[in-house]
Symmetry: C2
Subunit: 373 residues, 2 copies
């Protein structure tokens, strides 16, 4: 068996768990944070830098790689791992979320598209959408999403879902949730590769009964892991945490639980306490490129004038490459001068920070003192 | 004595020389190529990557660092070496060339300046110019250039010169050359730091007698090295090589000879044959960022469709990090997708290529078979 999820410790005072997820490309220690490598690269970083900063698994995007360079090309090049020179586990998202959000992005893009944009059209068969790159029309179906994800060859792949935006009516959310269930069934049926594991994505918007129903439907189909989708889409944080708190107990104990697209370091800790095992988010990487750096004493906006002559590293307690070798003054200079190295040094720091937080959380779970942290 | 230049071998069939230049930050083996780190960073690369790819010395720019972040800040941060985390030798250009060329750049910039631009104004005192960043007015004098370069703390610094554009009249070139000589004298007088060595810059445009005169004038003042300035400024290659061939014999045998701003790998080899020891050029780094890669079989324009499915590295014979780990297909994908990692992987390759060429030239000089190469 290539895949195995073992819970090695349950924290006494919370629902937090410590686990090991075995994959063909190595073990993942949960809770885990997955940096986002949308286009087969975690922006600005080499894969060696990801490893040096304790990254065990990355996420990449079916939607983007299908459109460019094309999943068949990546397959011909030996699969995504070889293509991008990363020999540790990869998870690919199914494309559902991106089809909807990238269309929004393209509409609001600085680069005005030269073609008119139709909203994605959902039928039982799948979703018809336009590429955000050139406006070309495509049909994505559950079977197609699985075909692409099998070609890419990630270790963990996701079922093709229909996320709903926030706010959404009960009726719309119900219809969409049922569609997701049907599609999940078709994904499960279509999936053949034995060296990949397929996760189901729970939908149901902000309605607890629909979340419950979605979870039960997916458990009936049977997946190797379960994700909470459709959260962190604009709803207030309290609602998000209410939904997580309500949903997690319905998820099987013995399968990994993945909260998609979340979040701040605090969000991660709160969710781990509720029993979540896996996370992905662009926050550390995107913030880094915007000059926003996470530290143990709050955020550092590196462009600020106060750092002009600041000899200190970003974070005195940090042991990342950036903090070991560069002053805030230098990082500010690079950022203001629009030097590419700025984006990379910032990204190294933020990824290191996220992975360090998660490592401390794992340590705390092991010693049953997570709430102190 | 911190500085020492020793010629360890002269090639039998050409004027090429093998030398060692000792500096407070280590030895430089000449002939040497200096990657350009205009704003205290060789664009896209870490200093570790520069070392891994056999870079012994880099060039940085007085003009840029004076305007941003300011030489005093760099001095307060412990000097340029510490600021940018580079412990090998640095050479700083004096700012003369940049004052004139950056003004041209700003005038033709995509980002239209919001202020009107006056051309730099030369008087005996120095040059009045506007910052390309914000149009602010500054006076650069020989003394000021030395003050800035002493604050930055490079190992090798350059005298402040007045380059002439191409084409230029004999009269204009003569006036400008005499100004350069006067300024060179003032630079020599102003320079106090004992752990820095000062090079003179020969001007004289495309006129052989003026080149000769400029050289003699500078030798009279006495410098630790001599540079040929004002070349590769738009003149035909034949003229450039004629001037180099004519000028080099007048330069002292026992001092390093530096050809500024040149050039292609072929230009380097031709010039080494004529007795040049040092080079700097943005060509490998800028071309890399434009997707133009140097190989033993000619240039690879990585965006071309022919590389879409090309599993081979950029250059089968290359041992750089990029060629060891990535296919042309992946590099093309990154470049087309405008991923920052593309620029970095390309730059690593081109810097490695340049330094490898120079290493082979040094080997050939040692074995007296440079002409075969």
């Amino acid at each position: 068996m290539s895949f195995e999820f073992e819970i090695i410790h349950k924290e006494k005072n919370t629902n937090a768990r410590l686990g090991i997820l075995k994959t063909p490309h190595g073990e993942i220690h949960t809770p885990v944070f997955m940096p986002v490598g949308t286009q087969a690269t975690v922006k600005t970083l080499s894969t060696e830098e990801l490893k040096e900063n304790n990254t065990e698994i990355i996420l990449s995007n079916t939607y983007h790689l299908y459109l460019r360079p094309g999943h068949k090309i990546i397959q011909d090049m030996g699969g995504l791992h070889r293509f991008m020179h990363w020999d540790r586990p990869i998870l690919t998202d199914s494309g559902g979320f991106q089809i909807f959000s990238m269309n929004e992005l393209a509409k609001g893009s600085r680069k005005q598209p030269t073609y008119s944009f139709a909203s994605p059209k959902v039928t039982e068969e799948g979703v018809t959408f336009q590429s955000h790159l050139n406006g070309s029309r495509h049909l994505m179906t559950p079977e197609k999403s699985i075909e692409i994800q099998e070609a890419l060859g990630a270790d963990i792949i996701m079922n093709f879902d229909e996320p709903v935006s926030y706010p959404a009516t009960y009726e719309h959310t119900l219809t969409s949730m049922n569609m997701t269930t049907q599609w999940a069934l078709r994904c499960k049926k279509a999936h053949k590769r034995g060296d990949q594991t397929l996760f189901g994505i729970v939908q149901g918007g902000m309605f607890k009964d629909l979340r419950e129903k979605s979870t039960m439907d997916l458990i009936d189909i049977g997946f190797d892991g379960y994700a909470l989708g459709g959260l962190s889409v604009g709803e207030p944080k309290e609602i998000m945490f209410e939904i997580i708190e309500h949903s997690t107990p319905f998820l099987p104990e013995d399968k990994p639980r993945y909260l998609m697209g979340v979040g701040t370091p605090e969000d991660l800790i709160h969710s781990i306490i509720m029993g979540i095992d896996m996370f992905d988010c662009v926050m550390p990487t995107r913030n880094a490129r915007n000059g926003c750096l996470f530290t143990n004493n709050g955020k550092v906006l590196i462009k600020n004038a106060q750092y002009l002559k600041d000899e200190r590293p970003i974070d005195l307690k940090c042991h990342c490459y950036t903090c070991k070798n560069y002053s805030r003054a230098y990082l500010r200079h690079l950022f203001i001068a629009e030097e590419i190295l700025a984006l990379r040094l910032n990204t190294i720091h933020n990824i290191h920070y996220y992975n360090k937080i998660i490592a401390r959380v794992r340590e705390a779970i092991l010693h049953d003192n997570l709430e102190e942290l």
